[in-house]
């Protein structure tokens, strides 16, 4: 921790955690006050007995008030420097460290997303959501006492990522909450909430004033942020010295993670372009006219699931992974793990062709064909020298790399018709050939990233098609 001694670090964390827990206590207190004053208090647990004829019950107001008091006590403990008391136990941190390998992390987030999707009716309940919200903050607070965690999270570069996690959780909850309410209303034959209040307002002054106020507030916030957490300056740039780890700006960390699994040409050019083109193509691919102007999930399950998978799983999750969990030498580190530049990870990656020819068939890799090996070809020299690269490339593509070529071609050529005949039959009928093929290929490209990641982690597979001679790797 930048040469801080243990006690200095304790003081630093204590000075941060005291106000932090007080803020959390105030947050819960305000929530309780709001519920009480707006008459939304609900009896959760009926207590036996009564006072003055009124039965006693533990209401949600009481519960949140109690939670606020717990946070206040934590503030007192942490602020007084007893950080050992308000930190996660060592065994739990170890378990989390071990559990956050890339496989557990990505499979876990996927399963989490699926669970959240199917049990959304439960998770969007305000009480449940508020509990999760509190637990998230508590987890952050308890983890802060770990020097390695603090080092990563409190780095000015990474603060926006922490904010992003919380903001994203809130807004995802908000949208899902509205969607669940709307879906229930629609199931009961009622119009969605947004239709109840579709009074038109004026751009001037209603919208413009709102925007102006937002602009001023956001500018003030940015100024405050820039003063409070100055952007870190690093040493002078040098073409021969790359910082370790060398990280892209946070919003590109998803792309940087993608580059770990793909050739730069693929992950740096083709897939990002496809993301942009695919997003632009959505209005032309979407044939579902429902869900226009109001939140809903039931009416647009496919669009919702694909978008949330692409956004939460493939973009946000990878950003969080790249920011918080990738350390020196781009190795994977648990959240409480020390960033050891000499951590050894066995990552001997093997190409598919090497798997098949060398390990499977126990023979050496077939080489490329060349006209110089075939003097019997009756072609003039200038023509063979011109055609030689092509012959070499295609002989590699369909010779040495044949297994990968077949797999990739099968994936992109055979799968769309199979999808059209099976799971996406209705889609195919409603979309027509071209629209369906575009959508299917975009989907397959999107799915190729997690597939490639899993192949890398499970089989140490480097490339399906590896023709470095021509900078062609997939």
């Amino acid at each position: 921790m930048h040469g801080l001694s243990e006690s200095q670090f304790q003081d630093l964390v204590a000075s941060f955690l005291g106000p932090y827990y007080i803020a959390l206590a105030a947050m819960n207190g305000l929530a309780a006050l709001y519920l009480w004053r707006s008459g939304q208090s609900k009896d959760w647990i009926k207590l036996p007995g009564s006072i003055g004829g009124h039965s006693i019950a533990i209401t949600n107001v009481v519960v949140w008030l109690l939670v606020g008091m717990v946070f206040a006590i934590l503030a007192a403990i942490a602020g007084s420097g007893n950080t050992a008391l308000v930190s996660l136990p060592e065994w739990l941190r170890e378990a989390i460290n071990r559990g956050t390998g890339p496989i557990v992390y990505s499979v876990g987030t996927t399963i989490g997303l699926i669970v959240l999707y199917f049990l959304r009716g439960f998770f969007v309940r305000p009480a449940v959501a508020w509990t999760i919200w509190n637990l998230m903050w508590l987890f952050l607070g308890l983890s802060m006492t770990d020097p390695d965690f603090y080092d990563i999270v409190a780095k000015p570069d990474n603060v926006p990522i922490v904010m992003l996690v919380f903001l994203l959780a809130f807004f995802t909850w908000l949208a899902t909450y509205r969607a669940v309410i709307n879906d229930n209303r629609i199931a009961n034959g009622e119009p969605p909430l947004e239709k109840l209040d579709d009074e038109k307002i004026l751009v001037w002054p209603d919208l413009v004033y709102t925007e102006l106020i937002c602009m001023i507030a956001l500018t003030a916030f940015l100024i405050f942020w820039a003063i409070a957490l100055p952007a870190p300056l690093e040493e002078a740039a040098s073409s021969v010295k790359t910082p370790n780890p060398s990280k892209a700006p946070w919003y590109f960390l998803g792309l940087q993670e993608m580059l770990v699994y793909y050739d730069p040409w693929m992950a740096g050019v083709v897939l990002p372009s496809l993301i942009v083109v695919g997003l632009m193509a959505i209005p032309y691919l979407d044939f579902n006219k429902e869900g226009n102007g109001y939140y809903t999930i039931k009416q647009r399950p496919f669009s919702y699931a694909v978008f949330q998978f692409g956004f939460l799983e493939m973009w946000i999750t990878l950003i969080v992974l790249g920011t918080l969990l990738r350390g020196p030498n781009w190795n994977f580190f648990g959240p409480y793990e020390h960033w050891d530049a000499h951590k050894v990870e066995a990552l001997n990656n093997v190409n598919l062709s090497e798997y098949v020819w060398q390990r499977g068939l126990n023979m050496s890799l077939p080489g490329a064909l060349s006209f110089s090996d075939m003097p019997w070809v009756p072609l003039p020299d200038w023509l063979t020298s011109f055609l030689n690269p092509f012959l070499e490339f295609f002989s590699l593509l369909f010779g040495r790399e044949l297994p990968g070529t077949l797999l990739v071609l099968g994936y992109f050529i055979a799968l769309p018709p199979i999808m059209a005949l099976t799971v996406f039959r209705g889609f195919y009928q409603r979309m027509g050939f071209i629209r369906f093929m575009v959508m299917a290929n975009l989907l397959l490209f999107m799915a190729s990233l997690p597939i490639k990641m899993v192949l890398r982690w499970v089989f140490n597979l480097k490339y399906l098609i590896a023709i470095p001679e021509f900078f062609f790797n997939f």
């Binding site: 040098s238 073409s239 021969v240 010295k241 790359t242 910082p243 370790n244 780890p245 060398s246 940087q256 580059l259 770990v260 699994y261 793909y262 050739d263 730069p264 740096g268 020196p328 030498n329 781009w330 190795n331 530049a341 000499h342 050894v344 990870e345 990552l347 001997n348 990656n349 480097k462 490339y463 590896a466 470095p468 001679e469 900078f471 790797n473």
Partner: protein
């Protein structure tokens, strides 16, 4: 002739008004400004007057005037057939043009006053006039108007307006001799054009200078980059199994003494990752090159084995110079996957 032929709108309207009023005094021959040559106009006039009494002449008859009918005439004829008592326009446009030349000159003085129908097949004024007229529906052609004027004796009776001679122009109003006029009129033009062309030329010159300066900027007087060929010392300075990092900061090169394909050799590895171009680090403890950007790893001999790097690190050309020192040439690289590491200038056998 061209400016004579065209009449101003005001003139056209005046002509139309005159013809309309039925008291226009200008005969066809008088109104030589009409650019209709006299004989053809009069011929038409007589023809028209002859045609005045019977119903309108059939259109093809006009062809007798020699030549095909213009579209305007056809239209007029078609209209005239519908309108009772309408005379047919018969004017031949091509004929009128050359005729107008001699006629126009003497008429110049009178022109403003001499209201005359324009020689065009039909003009706005006549269309407007025709709309007002009760006698004839539809627009009138110039020749028609002229014929009408001729045909009506009252029109002829109108006294000619006599224009008193203009007083002599004062000196200052007199036209200057051609040379003087040129001098007075052109310099204005000349200065403006001259200024513009001067401006554009100087703009172009400055642009060219800038371009040249930019090109010059690309070739600075002093080049700070190290020479592509440099010496790193005698081969004994590189014991077996060592990765010499000394030259990385300045030259971007590792000098390695390692075994490759069963042969101990000294070679110069380029310190650029073959994945995306970051600079890897040599990790002595792990005996590997490791890229901090995406985790690519390379063995000591430069062969890639982990991470996304698709091919081994590249080698620079290396040789033992005449003085016995090792000389590295960065202008040539050797790629393993192309089989170039077999080339003798890519390594020094130990």
């Amino acid at each position: 002739m061209a400016d004579k032929k065209k009449m101003s709108v005001a003139e056209m309207i005046a002509a139309a008004r005159k013809a309309d009023g039925g008291q226009s005094s200008v005969s066809a021959s008088d109104s030589s400004t009409s650019q209709v040559d006299d004989e053809s106009a009069s011929a038409q006039a007589s023809e028209a007057s002859a045609a005045e009494t019977p119903a309108s002449k059939p259109a093809p008859a006009k062809g007798a005037d020699g030549g095909r009918l213009s579209v305007a005439e056809m239209l007029a004829a078609a209209r005239g057939q519908g309108a009772p008592g309408a005379a047919k326009p018969a004017e031949k446009k091509p004929a009128a043009k050359p005729a107008a030349k001699p006629a126009a000159k003497p008429a110049t003085a009178e022109k403003p006053k001499a209201a005359s129908p324009p020689s065009e097949p039909r003009d706005t004024a006549s269309i407007l006039a025709a709309a007002k007229k009760s006698s004839k529906a539809g627009p009138t052609s110039k020749a028609e108007a002229a014929a009408k004027e001729k045909a009506s004796p009252t029109a002829k009776a109108k006294p000619q307006i006599v224009v008193p001679p203009m007083p002599e122009k004062p000196d200052y109003a007199k036209a200057k001799p051609a040379g003087a006029a040129k001098k007075s009129a052109e310099p204005v033009d000349e200065t403006r054009r001259g200024f513009l062309s001067l401006g554009f030329w100087s703009l172009g010159a400055v642009g060219a200078l800038w371009t040249l300066a930019t090109v010059k900027f690309m070739f600075p007087n002093v080049r700070r980059e190290p020479p592509s060929k440099f010496k790193v010392g005698f081969p004994d300075a590189f014991p077996a199994g060592q990765v010499q990092e000394k030259y990385k900061a300045q030259f971007g090169v590792w000098v390695v003494n390692a075994e490759y394909n069963g042969q101990q050799e000294i070679f110069a590895l380029k310190s650029v990752c073959t994945h995306l171009g970051c600079t890897p680090n040599w990790l002595e403890a792990e005996q590997k090159f490791k890229c901090p950007c995406h985790g690519s790893g390379f063995y000591k001999d430069g062969i890639n084995f982990e991470g996304p790097a698709p091919r081994p690190l590249e080698r620079y050309a290396i040789r033992v110079a005449d003085d016995g020192q090792i000389e590295i040439d960065k202008s040539r690289t050797f790629q393993e996957e192309m089989g170039q590491w077999e080339e003798p200038s890519s390594f020094i056998p130990v």
